[in-house]
């Protein structure tokens, strides 16, 4: 990104995308959303008109335009608008629904899924989308080990095999499973990529290019007119540190039930800002139209809302996602350093001590103004599989929650028992050998995370731990996460209803098993049981049975303290009233940000 900054003045990349002419009429196989139809999730959705531009903000620059090699939301928030898959999450309810597939069948034995594709639908450059694109994406990108693909882990079946994707005809594909795998429907919501544009970069298909070439495809240096998608928007402009512009895809197949092609807004502009406060100032000034609020924004925005023409949504809805700290249990492993520190970090009693120093009550009250919930598991609270429920989809009673109460005295006794004591009388606890123990806590420039870190730093220091908090750039932090550098990182992950979607995080060989990547080669008993439970939960269509497996898995995760969970804010949002259907925002989807499914349904009421 430094290189990009140096070239910033020259990198004004704004080019006309290579768009086709669009459809002459609504395709027969269009995806039609039932606006206003009672009994559907869309019953409160208003029909809109096309036109206008919606503005929002993003804290970070994207790192590229390649959906399948992206590991960060700063990229996927755009690539998820450029591409759609066979299946998707419903834009309002979040349930798994058909998208580019117009229907699918499951064989009686549950092992063969047959998808029927929409016919005569085109990529944004006017090239027909066929089964070949599905096979290319699945077989040659996602399952291709030469590709650094984030979603491969989610495709693995319990027996270690992958579904076999085959073409039946130009508009029919099958996925054959070796075993029943309930989450396959979530996993098959992968975004389709255009074979005619990208096959040339895959060594497997084009031996003239080196292995791994695809990982360097559709980077920020790629001319934007090379980008092709099937989603509602395509990137047409990018200014480093300034903005990303996306324009409607004339060949998008989504329509409203009045015959209007979606998306409604012609253009979507994401202003890249340095932090959330700047985003909020821009929202107040009308420079951006929607804004994901924090609790500290309420007293600023609430009194201004009517006068300035925006609405403030304050709800008690638990949000998806997790916020956590992780203790890097592989610290110094690659370098051959920090051996004793690594041993201590790998000791669960040490992590228990840290967990007892997390004052979540203060975090919720002071940081979230009481508008938050405690977390103890990696499955989002709204999920029907959340282990705080008594049964699948049941009420949240937290009857079997595994929690570590804020108890500094208990934390101190655990540290003492480990020999992490102040050996030299300088006021700070040392490693058992007497060597100094210094702990850095890193988070990005996010006011909520910074506030959490300051509370944590204070409590750690009060317990005698020499902890020091540092703010670092988000993309650098993500880099540290993958490189297993640093002591403690505070970050968050997106979440959904399906626990199996966390496979890349919580299984011992997962690409985001960031607290201990070495577990892949050296798993302990808990790691192995977690891996087993993830498979068992996926290997049944019996939701109650699956709930049982996932409950045990979440409890083990909590005991293991790999990711140590904090709090999650309840859903807050603000939007200008002229943005039609923005009032349908919920934890499931909003017009912007990481879960921008609602965007294509929003429109300018002033037109």
């Amino acid at each position: 990104m430094k290189k990009a900054l140096i070239l910033a003045s020259l990198l004004l990349v704004s080019s006309l995308a290579v768009f086709g002419q669009g459809y002459d009429a609504q395709p027969a196989d269009a995806l039609v959303f039932p606006f206003g139809v009672a009994g559907t999730p869309y019953e409160n959705a208003e029909l809109g008109v096309r036109g206008g531009t919606i503005h929002e903000a993003s804290i970070e620059d994207p790192r590229g335009w390649n959906n399948h090699t992206a590991h960060e939301t700063s990229t996927t928030q755009y690539t998820n608008l450029m591409h759609r898959g066979l299946l998707n999450l419903d834009h309002i309810s979040g349930a798994v629904v058909i998208d580019f597939a117009k229907s699918y069948d499951i064989s009686d034995d549950g092992l063969v899924l047959t998808f029927h594709l929409r016919e005569n639908i085109y990529w944004s450059d006017g090239v027909l989308i066929t089964a070949d694109d599905v096979l290319f994406t699945y077989n040659d990108v996602i399952l291709n080990e030469d590709v650094d693909c984030n979603s491969r882990d989610g495709q693995i079946l319990p027996d270690g095999t992958f579904p076999v994707c085959e073409k039946v005809d130009d508009y029919t594909v099958t996925f054959t499973l070796s075993t029943i795998y309930r989450p396959i429907l979530n996993s098959l919501a992968f975004n389709l990529m255009p074979k005619h544009k990208l096959a040339q970069f895959v060594h497997k298909l084009n031996p003239d290019v080196p292995v791994g070439t695809f990982n360097e495809t559709w980077t920020l240096d790629t001319p934007l007119d090379e980008l092709v998608g099937n989603g509602p928007y395509i990137v047409t402009g990018y200014q480093v540190n300034v903005s990303v512009t996306m324009e409607r895809n004339p060949y998008y197949y989504g329509y409203d039930n009045a015959g209007t092609q979606l998306p409604y807004f012609d253009k979507f502009v994401s202003n890249i800002v340095t932090n959330q406060d700047v985003s909020m100032l821009k929202f107040r000034n009308g420079e951006i139209d929607v804004y994901g609020m924090r609790a500290e924004d309420i007293p600023i925005l609430l009194p201004e809302s009517t006068g300035k023409g925006f609405s403030v949504m304050i709800t008690d809805l638990a949000t998806y996602g997790t916020t956590w700290i992780l203790v890097n249990q592989d610290i110094g492993l690659a370098e051959g350093t920090d051996t004793e520190k690594r041993e201590i970090y790998r000791t669960v009693e040490f992590r228990e001590a840290l967990a007892h120093l997390l004052d979540k009550d203060t975090m919720v009250q002071n940081v979230l103004n009481g508008l938050g919930t405690y977390q103890w598991t990696g499955v989002s609270l709204p999920s029907p599989f959340y282990a705080g429920r008594d049964y699948y989809g049941g009420p949240i009673t937290e009857a079997d929650a595994v929690t570590f109460e804020y108890d500094p005295a208990l934390a101190a006794s655990k540290l003492d028992a480990l020999g992490v004591v102040d050996a030299d009388g300088d006021g700070w606890r040392d490693l058992p050998s007497g060597a100094p123990l210094e702990i850095t806590i890193n988070a990005n420039d996010n006011t909520t995370r910074i506030a959490y870190c300051l509370i944590i730093q204070d409590d750690f220091r009060a317990a005698g731990l020499n902890a020091n908090f540092q703010v670092i750039d988000f993309n650098t932090l993500v880099g540290d996460l993958f490189a297993a550098t640093g002591d403690i990182i505070l970050l968050g992950l997106t979440g959904g209803d399906e626990p199996n979607s966390g496979k890349n995080v919580y299984t011992s060989c997962g690409s985001l098993h960031a607290y201990r990547y070495s577990a892949c080669d050296d798993p302990d008993e808990v790691d192995l049981r977690i891996d087993e439970l993830m498979d068992l939960g996926a290997n049944t269509f019996d939701l109650d049975a699956a709930f049982g497996y996932y409950k045990e898995y979440q409890q083990l995760l909590a005991y293991q303290l790999g990711y140590i969970y904090l709090c999650q804010p309840t859903f807050l949002y603000a939007h200008y009233d002229f943005v039609g259907n923005a009032n349908l925002s919920s934890p499931t989807s909003t017009p912007g940000g990481n879960n921008g499914l609602l965007l294509e349904l929003c429109f300018d009421k002033t037109l």
């Binding site: 406060d277 700047v278 000034n285 309420i298 007293p299 009194p303 809302s305 006068g307 940081v367 103004n369």
Partner: protein, 229 residues
């Protein structure tokens, strides 16, 4: 916190002849802002004209800010310049000490920005109320009051007050900051419910402006909203 000295003078002499454009049949904001002598009403019109004023040149606005005939013209020009000069982001980039120095010297925008940047330390109404007990600069008290008003506004999850409580606080709150907080919340409350017409609001301003300046401020904010509709 002492009251506005000019207001006290007006009250004691009782010699002010209140002249207003009350009863004006149609709302011509440019006419109001050019001729209205009651500051609160003039400013309300000015606030409603800020967007229009941003279409003027910086030179024009600087002249109007300095020498505009009425409070409303000068306020509209000031707010338009604030927007055009990107003053907000300039202030945001400043360190806290610099903002406080400006605030103490009378820069209300700097005071507002200082409180905005530090609001994470004042996430509950009682913390702002405590701050108001010791703050000395009026600008900082006003800035804090505006944020506190955000807690007091009906619908707030923390600290919401009723309209009656807010009116009483705007009239008789112990400090400038508390009275500004009440005014902020009242304006927001009235914007939502629109209980009064333009003419009724003007009358209310005239009835309270010499006695309860912050209550008049609340009506001013509401009137600005009505003017903008």
């Amino acid at each position: 916190m002492k009251r506005n000295g000019l207001r006290a003078l007006g009250l004691t002499t009782c010699a002010v002849v209140l002249v207003s454009l009350i009863g004006f049949a149609a709302v011509d904001l440019n006419d109001i802002v050019a001729n209205e002598l009651i500051p609160e009403i003039s400013k309300a019109a000015g606030l409603a004209l800020v967007a229009d004023y941003t279409l003027k040149t910086v030179e024009e606005l600087e002249t109007l800010e300095a020498t505009g005939r009425t409070d409303g013209i000068r306020l509209a020009a000031n707010r338009a310049l604030f927007s055009l000069n990107a003053r907000e982001m300039e202030l945001y980039a400043m360190e806290n000490d610099a903002l406080v120095a400006l605030a103490v010297a009378g820069d209300q925008d700097a005071a507002n920005m200082w409180f905005f940047k530090n609001r994470a330390s004042y996430k509950r109404p009682e913390l702002v109320e405590e701050y108001l007990l010791t703050v000395e600069a009026d600008t900082l008290a006003i800035a804090a009051g505006k944020v506190l008003g955000g807690f007091y506004v009906p619908g707030s999850p923390l600290g919401a007050k009723t309209e009656d409580e807010l009116v009483e606080l705007a009239k008789n709150g112990e400090s400038l900051g508390l009275r500004v907080a009440a005014a902020t919340a009242l304006t927001a409350f009235w914007n939502t419910g629109q209980p009064l017409t333009i003419d009724q609001t003007r009358k209310e301003i005239l009835s309270v402006v010499l006695v309860y300046p912050e209550l008049a401020l609340a009506y001013q904010g509401y009137l600005a909203y009505l003017f903008s509709l």
